[in-house]
């Protein structure tokens, strides 16, 4: 084993994020309270550079480096780019909220950046070890972010739940990984895949290991029946933390699933296929049904996440390149939608007031018709109504499912999406059909937030009208 500097080139985005995190951590110590905005600027610049570098080092043949621990391929290029762009949007939205509450401190940004770093490592992983390390880095940073509002008992409770259940999920995953290692003698994906194809399903330890891996993935995605943490954490955590943990990590969770199940264990598709079918149906069913009963919009979006995870699983379980590409398309689109939805909640919040109930959206069209239109776009997209991209995402996963002759599963999926349409429509109802409360002040946002939200919302429309470009990228990742 020797160190080769050429290995560093493909992980330049990761390095940039790490450096940014360190710089923010250091500089924050010397900043006066009124200068804390510099943290924000530095973070955005760091992420922007990382996006540029992802584009610069990306493209071309897949490269494996660091002795087979990391990989850079079309999949990682696209997923890293998406994680970074969604995170960039998220960081733009959170500033005003933090500033109003005197929380515009370096720690928030450092933790957020470290979480991004964890996601990037997960995406680049070519063996179980970096995958697990990236996952833990992301998870630990997010636990701390959830508890970021130290004076909020609800936040502390949410963080505790998140930590205990997250650790449980990680433990399951690690247990599964150790079984796979025991059965195949390797932690790198390529040798594992080879060993799997030789042993097949005869090896009970392998099959047992897969069950634990799927449970771990289910935990990280928040799929039913491993979803219990999602609503409580979405409700209890401060909205900026929810924004960060509810958007980009879904892309990372997708990377986790693809790296393990597809790169490593595609030989056992028949085994994990069945498990994912169950998880998908339960998630779509429970997520959509329970979301109807929610009056807290963060909780409602939590259940909506669960149902969307079901749809992502539909693409994964198809087991074809087409299916993986559609699941990838769905995850990216979902992350963009979630970032926008929580972004709107942050915009609606002001000093001493957090927009949390559905009623808080009342009369948004009267207060600011542009944000109202953006939120309506996001909701219609989540419901899967054309011409928004949410429809295209659903169409692609349904196509993948029908392709493997599971028409019944597609019917179940559309049936639950009708139920889902109701609660998204209810949000639109509050925005457009109800009058605002008399004491609701006009929305004041900075130009940057308005631009970011416009890009975020219009992206859903533009991607819906012209889905071919993103779809081609997704398909190239699995070509």
């Amino acid at each position: 084993m020797h160190f080769d500097a050429a290995n560093l080139v493909p992980i330049l985005p990761e390095i940039t994020i790490l450096i940014t995190a360190c710089v923010v951590l250091m500089i924050d110590l010397y900043l006066k309270d009124q200068d804390k905005g510099l943290n924000h600027t530095l973070t955005l610049v760091g992420i922007a550079i990382a996006i540029a570098l992802t584009g610069a080092v990306g493209g071309g043949e897949a490269q494996v480096f660091f002795d087979g621990n990391l990989v850079r391929d079309a999949l990682s290029d696209l997923l890293k780019g998406s994680v970074l762009i969604v995170s960039l949007l998220a960081f733009v939205y959170v500033r005003a909220w933090l500033q109003d509450r005197g929380m515009l401190v370096g720690e928030f940004y450092v933790l957020g950046l470290l979480a991004i770093l964890g996601m990037l490592i997960m995406i680049s992983a070519n063996s179980f070890l970096p995958l697990y390390l990236g996952l833990e880095l992301q998870a630990l940073s997010l636990y701390a972010l959830v508890a970021f509002d130290r004076d909020s008992p609800k936040g502390a409770e949410a963080a505790m739940k998140y930590f205990v259940l997250g650790a449980l999920g990680s433990g399951m995953l690690l247990y599964g990984i150790s079984m796979i290692y025991g059965a195949t003698g390797s932690i790198e994906f390529a040798p594992v895949a080879q060993a799997v194809s030789e042993q097949g399903m005869s090896n009970k330890v392998l099959v047992f290991g897969i069950a634990f891996l799927v449970i771990g993935i289910g935990f990280k995605f928040g799929a039913v029946p491993f979803h219990m943490w999602v609503p409580d954490i979405y409700e209890g955590a401060p909205t900026p933390a929810v924004l960060i943990l509810g958007s980009a990590p879904k892309i990372a969770a997708f990377a986790l699933a693809v790296r393990m199940l597809v790169d490593g264990l595609s030989g056992l598709h028949a085994d994990w296929h069945q498990m994912l079918v169950i998880l998908a149906v339960l998630s779509m069913g429970l997520g959509n049904l329970v979301a109807i009963a929610q009056s807290n919009i963060k909780r409602m979006l939590a259940y909506s996440t669960i149902s969307h995870v079901g749809f992502i699983f539909l693409g994964l379980l198809a087991g074809s390149a087409q299916g993986y590409a559609s699941a990838m398309f769905y995850s990216i689109v979902y992350a963009v939608m979630a970032a926008g939805a929580f972004g709107i909640l942050l915009i609606l919040s002001r000093e001493g007031f957090d927009a949390e109930r559905l009623e808080d959206l009342k009369g948004l069209n009267d207060r600011d018709s542009w944000y109202a239109a953006m939120m309506a776009l996001i909701m219609f997209s989540m419901a899967g109504v054309p011409p928004t991209v949410g429809f295209m995402a659903k169409l692609l996963v349904l196509e993948a499912v029908v392709r493997i002759d599971m028409v019944w599963l597609a019917l179940v999926a559309v049936f639950f999406s009708i139920i889902g349409a109701f609660y998204y429509l209810r949000v639109v109802k509050f925005i457009y059909f109800d009058k605002a409360a008399d004491d609701a002040p006009a929305l004041s946002t900075t130009g940057g937030v308005r631009v970011a939200m416009s890009i975020n919302g219009l992206a859903l429309l533009v991607l819906g009208l012209f889905p071919a470009a993103l779809l081609t990228l997704c398909q190239a990742a699995f070509a």
Binding site: N365, S369, A376, F380, V385, P386, P387, F391, L395, L396, L398, E399, V402, R403, V407, A410, L411, V414, F415, S417, I418, A421, F422, L425, R426, V428, K429, Y432, F433, P467, A468, L471, T472, Q475
Partner: protein
């Protein structure tokens, strides 16, 4: 083949207009209104180009535009019109003008958003009629729900939220299953082109399932009994313009779907399940006719009358199969479908005009209850004249367009079965009963109360609106030949298509033999 992208222009011009109006904001309201009207008229003029340039001698798709949209799934931006869709497009652009004018002074809350919603809606509806790619069709079909959802919900009556959510969920429920059917056919045919679907060979089980998926989508839209209940709610709560668009065009989209999808793609399933549609149509005509009779609310009454009239449309479309299956009868099948088409266009004019009439009263008195009116003609003679005229047309008075379509459908039904025709013809009595009774109570008699006494007659804007529609109703009633001429080749071609068995050879035993033999006989019919 026309090089100029006329269809694209007809779709996107109003959508662009909607965005322009939206961007102009509520400050310069008059300017926004004139802009909206200009775009509506311009779109109508552009769509007239379709009529003028249309070659009625062929059943081929015309004004075809084709470009890749999602290449990896073979989804295309594929547009084209034939004799069925072209008149409906012109109807759409025509009616939208009146909707824009009708909202002119009445809408005070965010009028620009109101007008923009209707313009965007117009473009999307034209898109539905001109799509030849299934996914493109579906995108337009569903996108249509968004502006309508907002129109009813924002500018509607007191119970609007319930009505609009019911409307959205009903139609959404109907259409998602169609999506699965479309995807399934994509894997059978390798493309999303609707014309490829027409040529696709499908087994009986697949055909029946696909037919049911389509039926769910289109029956909700038409709406057919028993999934009609969203319509009265939506109509009552919608603002006048919303009711007009709903009745005049959105319902037609369901009928159009039957002609474009159900009949040619699943002819054998349609044939074997035609009894179901015919039964539901007759129930709609009879039962809903009686329901309309007891309504206290004018809008609700017209809404129920719409359902009954659309029952005629579906009856005309599916009576074809009974005629084809009966070797003793020759001809009549083309007449059924053409009658249904004429009925759709005519109902577009008449129901639109009736809703405008109710809107005129509602704007002045803010009530739709029949009991709140009486003797309106004493204070509003112009209005009285128009109202009586449209009511007569709704009842199917000869000389108006309402008569032509109903007569053709009844005539075609006669060839299939005397008793069905008898049942269908009772609508002439029922429709006369419920419409004229309403007119009697609202328009004639003594001036009932102070509000009626204080009514002012139609202003110029309203007179133009209703006058042009009245002229259209008369023109179509007295001289329907141009419309029939435009659609004739297409309908004949459609009847040929449904007459040919599409089952794979292994199942050809299930084909009703007589139908294939009849093709020649039908084609030779005038």
């Amino acid at each position: 083949m026309n090089e100029f992208p006329l269809l694209t222009l007809t779709i996107w011009l109003p959508i662009l207009g909607g965005l322009v109006v939206l961007a102009s904001g509520d400050k310069e309201q008059n300017l926004s209104k004139w802009t909206a009207l200009a775009f509506a008229i311009l779109t109508f003029v552009v769509s007239l180009g379709l009529w003028v340039g249309f070659d009625s001698g062929t059943a081929q798709m015309q004004f075809v535009e084709r470009a890749a949209w999602i290449p990896s799934f073979n989804v295309e931006y594929y547009l084209g019109v034939d004799g069925i869709s072209m008149p409906l497009i012109v109807l759409t652009t025509f009616i939208t003008i009146f909707v824009v004018i009708a909202g002119w002074e009445v809408i005070t809350y965010k009028p620009t958003q109101y007008l923009a919603a209707f313009l965007i809606m117009e473009g999307v509806m034209v898109g539905v009629f001109s799509s030849l790619d299934a996914i493109l069709f579906y995108v337009f079909w569903e996108a249509m729900l968004i502006p309508m959802f907002i129109i009813i919900g924002v500018w509607g009556g007191p119970n609007r939220v319930y009505a609009t959510i019911k409307f959205f969920l009903y139609t959404f429920f109907g259409s998602v299953f169609m999506l699965i059917a479309l995807i399934y056919m994509y894997f059978q045919s390798g493309s999303f082109s609707i014309l490829d679907f027409h040529a696709l060979e499908l087994g009986m089980t697949a055909q029946k399932l696909i037919f049911i998926a389509f039926l769910l989508a289109f029956a909700v839209k038409v709406p057919m009994f028993p999934v009609h209940t969203w319509l009265p709610d939506a109509h009552v709560e919608a603002p006048t313009g919303g009711s007009v668009i709903l009745a005049a065009i959105m319902l037609k989209i369901g009928g159009y779907g039957f002609l474009r999808f159900s009949l040619p793609i699943t002819p054998d399933a349609s044939a074997s399940l035609a009894w179901l549609i015919i039964a539901l149509s007759l129930i709609a005509i009879l039962y809903i006719g009686f329901v309309a009779l007891v309504q206290q609310d004018m809008k609700k009454l017209i809404a129920y009358s719409s359902i009954a009239h659309m029952g005629f449309v579906t009856l005309g479309f599916f009576i074809v199969f009974t005629i084809l299956a009966n070797p003793d009868v020759s001809g009549g099948s083309v007449m059924g479908i053409e009658g249904g088409m004429v009925q759709m266009i005519s109902h577009g004019f008449i129901s639109g005009a009736l809703f405008l009439c109710v809107g005129v009263l509602y704007d002045r008195v803010h009530s739709r209850e029949i009991a709140d009116y009486g003797g309106v003609v004493n204070t509003m003679p112009w209005f009285g004249a128009f109202m009586v005229f449209f009511a007569m047309a709704n009842a199917g008075l000869p000389g108006t367009s309402g008569f032509v379509g109903e007569f053709m459908v009844i005539l075609a039904t006669f060839r299939a079965d005397f008793w069905w025709a008898f049942l269908a013809a009772t609508t002439l009595v029922l429709a006369a009963a419920f419409t004229l009774w309403m007119v009697k109570r609202v328009v004639f008699g003594e001036v009932k109360n102070d509000k009626v006494a204080a009514l002012s007659d139609l202003d110029v804007r309203e007179r133009i609106n209703l006058g042009v529609l009245a002229a259209a109703v008369l023109a179509l009633g007295l001289w329907p030949a141009p419309l029939m001429n435009v659609m004739h080749a297409t309908v004949e071609n459609l009847v040929d298509q449904v007459a040919v068995c599409k089952l794979p050879t292994a199942e050809s035993g299930e084909c009703a033999r007589s139908r294939t033999e009849q093709v020649a006989a039908i084609v030779s019919q005038p």
